[in-house]
Each structure stands twice: as C-alpha cells, then as structure tokens.
Symmetry: C2
Subunit: 356 residues, 2 copies
C-alpha cells in the first residue's frame, strides 16, 4: 500500500532523492564504490559538496557576504554554537516554543538572556507580536517555524539588530530576506536530507567579534575557512542534500515551492475548519504553519481520537500523531509531501465524519 508520510522529522524526502541515494549506495558517480565508503577528499565527493553549497546559494539567492557550511551534531548543537560565536554579553530571544526555549537555555551559558516576549502561558498557540528588542542586544534570535505547536513566522523580522534564526523546519519553503541575518541554521531532516547534517548560512563579517576563545570545532570560522572540509563531513547526507536541491530547482525554486505549500495547507486547514469532527490548535490563524498542521478532535468528539488514528493508519497515513505537549494530530506537510497525500488525509477525515 502507498504510504503517505506526514512525519514531523526525520520526514519525507523526494522520490528523486531516495532513488538517487539508493543508487549511490551501490555505485557512487561511476566509481564502482559505495557512497558509504568513498573518501571525502576524493574529487567525486568534493564536487558533490561544492555543488551542494553553490546550489543552496543559488536557490536561496544568498548574498555574497554569506558562506554556506555543512556541520554535524544537529540543530541542537547550534543552540550552543550560536551564542559561543556571537554573544559577547547579551542576546534577545523570542520564545515561541520548545526549540526557541532550548536555544534560550543554552544562551544562558554564555551571557545575559533577554526574552522579549513569550506565548508559553497559552501553550504557544500564537506568535507574540508588539515587543521591544533592547538595542544593547548582540543579536535577536527566533525560530521561524515551531514544529511541535504548528505556528510559523511567515516573514523575516527587522528590528534594527543582527538576527539569528533557526529555520530547521521551514528552510527552502519560502524566499528569505537576508538583510539582517548573521546566521541561519537548519537541521537537514525536514526539507533537505536525512538526519546527520546541519546547514549553516553565516555572514562572514560577523565572525571573530566575541572575546571568548572558541574551541576549533565550535567555531563557524573553522568550517567557513575550510569549506565544510575541516574534518570528515557527513558524506551521505550531503550527497542526498544535493539530490533534493536538484529536485527543488526542477520544481522552479522556492517561489514555486511556496505556492505548492500554500495550496496543500489551504486544503487541509479548510477541512479542519469545516469538518465538525476536528478543530485546529493554533488560535491566531495568521500564525498557522504551512509545515506542521496541528489539529485535535472537536469538542464532544474527543473519545473518537483513537478510532480516527486507526482509520488513518488503515489508509496508509503515517506519522500524524501529535506531540504529547499538544495532543491530537499533526500533519507535517514539508516540501516533498505531494498534494495527493494531503488529499488522502482530507478524504480520510471526510469519510470518518460521514461514517459517524
């Protein structure tokens, strides 16, 4: 049976990425060797890594003063690397969910942390607005998409300060205005590659300004200077990333992808809003995520949750169980998820409602 993969991450990758990776595991670039066992310094893989970095710059229209690097350790490592490299005394954070919270926690190891606003008291059901960011902050930090709570900042904020953003779950889903950013990072496992590589886009002239010594591997400068080859990078995830990037270019780039994501989200949110058996969890509709669409059984229908979960499974729908802090369901609709899968979920919701 065809599976519809709504997993929150690691999550669906394009069929193209999967097929090309499977082929490379058996024979990489005609070398007669597996991508699992080739040297990262061999000309074939160096070409892959260089092409992937160049395509990221092209697809996201990254200005010249930024560099793109691939790192290990996951986005969680960035919660520590970002303040290590950029916080001299104080940074300001927007608290929009679990991942912003984790970044705030790590920031405290390095200096004064100022939370400008938080929606925590309302279980993060909206993105806070109308706050002041103190001008003496070294940077302003936010997470653009909150995978767990299903909210998303749909634009890049300008607060008159350098900005750092965790875009782990919505990078490549829309164009980015790089004007104020000094660092954007993203764990690869939502919209780029299998787990094991993290993308960092670093403004080069923002490096080298903090006074603390930075261990070599934790310094962005190390990886920028060595073009992601300071140490052995995660070879297969970078190969897979390149396949996804080629697929994105074929689709028409981030503008085309954004249009597709809007169409998918509109279809599913319309069903959530109109089907009397379900309701959305995000109270502020303009903050609804296009990536992670959270919903629960409607009032009075709560007892049907398990039954709907089983019914969805019987239709090949995978990975829609909500995070325990929200409950209900979460349909993650990353770039590689086809409209057909969203339609299958919508059909399943309608069929379930009709049968009850």
């Amino acid at each position: 049976m065809k599976k519809h993969n709504f997993s929150a991450g690691p999550s669906i990758l394009s069929e193209y990425t999967i097929q090309k990776t499977a082929e490379a595991v058996l024979n990489f670039a005609g070398t007669g060797l597996s991508i699992l066992e080739v040297s990262h310094r061999g000309k074939e893989f160096v070409a892959v890594c260089d092409e992937a970095r160049a395509m990221i710059k092209e697809i996201l229209a990254i200005p010249e003063d930024f560099e793109v690097v691939f790192l290990g350790g996951g986005a969680s490592m960035q919660f520590c690397m970002a303040p290590y490299n950029f916080m001299e005394k104080k940074a300001s954070f927007l608290d929009t969910g679990t991942w912003a919270g984790n970044a705030i926690k790590e920031g405290k190891f390095f200096g004064e942390v100022n939370v400008v606003a938080s929606s925590k008291a309302d279980n993060y059901t909206y993105i806070p607005k109308h706050y002041e960011v103190p001008k003496d902050s070294d940077y302003f930090y936010y997470c653009t998409n909150n995978t767990i709570f299903g909210t998303e900042l749909h634009e890049d904020l300008h607060v008159g300060l350098p900005v750092i953003a965790d875009m782990s779950s919505d990078i490549f889903s829309r164009p980015i205005d790089f004007t104020d950013y000094i660092l954007i990072f993203a764990g690869a496992q939502k919209n780029l590659a299998p787990a094991g590589v993290t993308l960092a886009i670093v403004r080069k002239d923002a490096l080298g300004k903090v006074s603390r010594p930075i261990p070599t591997m934790l310094s962005y400068k190390t990886h920028v200077d060595k073009e992601s080859m300071f140490n052995t990078p995660p070879v297969l995830p970078i190969f897979s990333a390149l396949q996804t990037l080629k697929y994105y270019k074929e689709l028409g780039g981030v503008e085309a992808i954004q249009k597709m994501n809007k169409a998918k989200a509109e279809l599913l949110y319309a069903e959530i809003d109109n089907n009397p058996f379900f309701k959305g969890t995000v109270t502020c509709k303009e903050d609804r995520s296009l990536m992670n669409i959270c919903f629960v059984m409607n009032d009075g229908k709560e007892a049907l949750e398990d039954e709907f979960a089983k019914f969805a499974t019987s239709k090949g729908i995978v990975g829609i169980k909500g995070h325990r802090s929200v409950g209900g369901f979460r349909a993650s609709c990353y770039n590689a998820l086809p409209l057909e899968s969203v339609q299958a979920l919508v059909d399943c919701m309608r069929e379930f409602a009709a049968a009850h």
Copy 2:
C-alpha cells in the same frame, strides 16, 4: 572491474553493510518508507539504535559501568568534548601524530596540557615509550592508531590514572581492556559505519566531576541519560553500524577479526620488507599499524612512484596515495578489507618489480 578499496577513511565497509543499507534506503524494516525519512522515535528505528548499542557492549565485552552513545560532529568534536567533561585543571597527552596533536590543541582551551612524550621530531615514525605521567593529571590521553603515520599502540596502557583514548581507526580490530578507561571514542567511518556518527563509550561514574558548566549538547551525561535520543541522531549511519556489528558477530567477534587483520598485515609488511623496490616508513617494527600500512619507494627507486601509482590504479587498487606529510603510499587495511585485496596489492608490487 572489481575495486580494492584501501582508502584511509571514509573507507571500505562490508558488502553486507552496503547491501542492507541499500535495501533500507528503498524500504526500511518493511515500513514501506525509506530509512532516509523515518522518525527516529518510531519503534522500528528505536529498536535499531538499542540493538546497535547492545551489540557494541556485547562484541567489545564492555563492563556494566560504561554506557555507549552515538554522537554527531565527528571525532574532532570529541577533542573538545573530552576536556570539557573531564579536565578540571590538567591532563597529560602522548603525542603520536596529527590527531593526538589536534586533541592537545583543544585541551589547551580547558586547562594545563602536559605532553609526556612526542615522536614529532622523527615525523612520528614510532610510538614513544618510557615516560612519566604526572599523578596530578585528571587523565592520560592517547590515540591508539595513527592513520597518517601508520603506527599503532597494540595494547591498552595502564599508568595509574584514568585514561581517554581516540580509537577512531582501530576500534573493533582487537579486544579492549577497559580497566582504566573513562572514555573511548571513535569516528565511525573506518571500522563501523559511513561518516556522520561518532561512537563514545563513557564510564558513567566519571561524569559530573568537573566544576565548569557544560552546554547541554557537549555534555556526555545528556546523551547517556537519553540513550542517544536527546536530539535526532544520525539515523542512517546508525542503521549501517548495526549491519556492520551483525557482520562482525558472524565473523566470530574481535578475536577473529584481530587474527584476520594480523594475517593481512603480515602479508603486506613481508612484501614491503622483501621487495627491493619498496620500504616501510615506520622505524620501530613493533609499532607498525595493522590498520594503515605506510610505505614509500626504496632508495634509488623514488622516480618510479608515479608509475607504480598508475600501475596500481590499472589493477583496480584505490586509495593508496600516502598522506602529504609522509608521502609515498598508504594501504589502509580496515576490518572489512578482504585478504584478497591485500593479495591483489602484493601481486601488483611483485609484478611491478619484475617488470623493472
């Protein structure tokens, strides 16, 4: 043409590992999904991760007071994490090559670094012996196998202090005496899995003793407490690691593997010593590595180096170019390299000598 993969790392993995990984990229554990796109919290992958950790404990006969964790970032990240977690004031290091040198460099970010002995002046052609390790060291650190220079410590040292070892290039090649270790780490890409995961074997009661605050991701305790699932681990590399471990168990475990490695190394070192066209670079024969076998053209035959390199390539021999700091050739003979490949290289050396 059949390729003989002598790459120094990433390097040859067993055919079993490659085949099983290729299958899982198309359909993982009968889920109908790729290993590239499944949740790390799904029961199928949790089972893989748990089984891999358990098999490492079994194959290496790891005592109960240790925990096994999978980390991202490569062994280079361990050069920083080890002192972050274990150095209060001072640590002692044995300088046997580039990787020990990198660990020494990072150690200096955290306290006083004492180099007990070094073979640097002789381009690391032997492992220093007969040194004193100061008793006020928090730990003694060494790298068991020097990939670049082709030397290897063939046993675990006991100096009356806790020991930390980088076993990136010889783990699973021999039994380990865990008595004095508090930490053993190994980048996976030589003897375990594709690049992107690092194995750490940590003595639990050695944790939590330094006074400095440790950022969450850099603390071994985080990963020990969460059984490698604090954040998204590198899913595919861990899956591949499990396949290699199954293959090792089938081979008969580390004793059997050690015997095979000795046979391969004896065959190649005998040829290097007896063939008048070549000579080994490691001056102290007892320190010769079973993993990385370094040799150069013999005196007076230097001009033939390029010709031999081309001849070897024509025979399907891949990855024998020596590191620039040694020159000549390096045949890496990791666990997965079959005796047949070593025989092919030996035959090639004989044929080359006969033709000149």
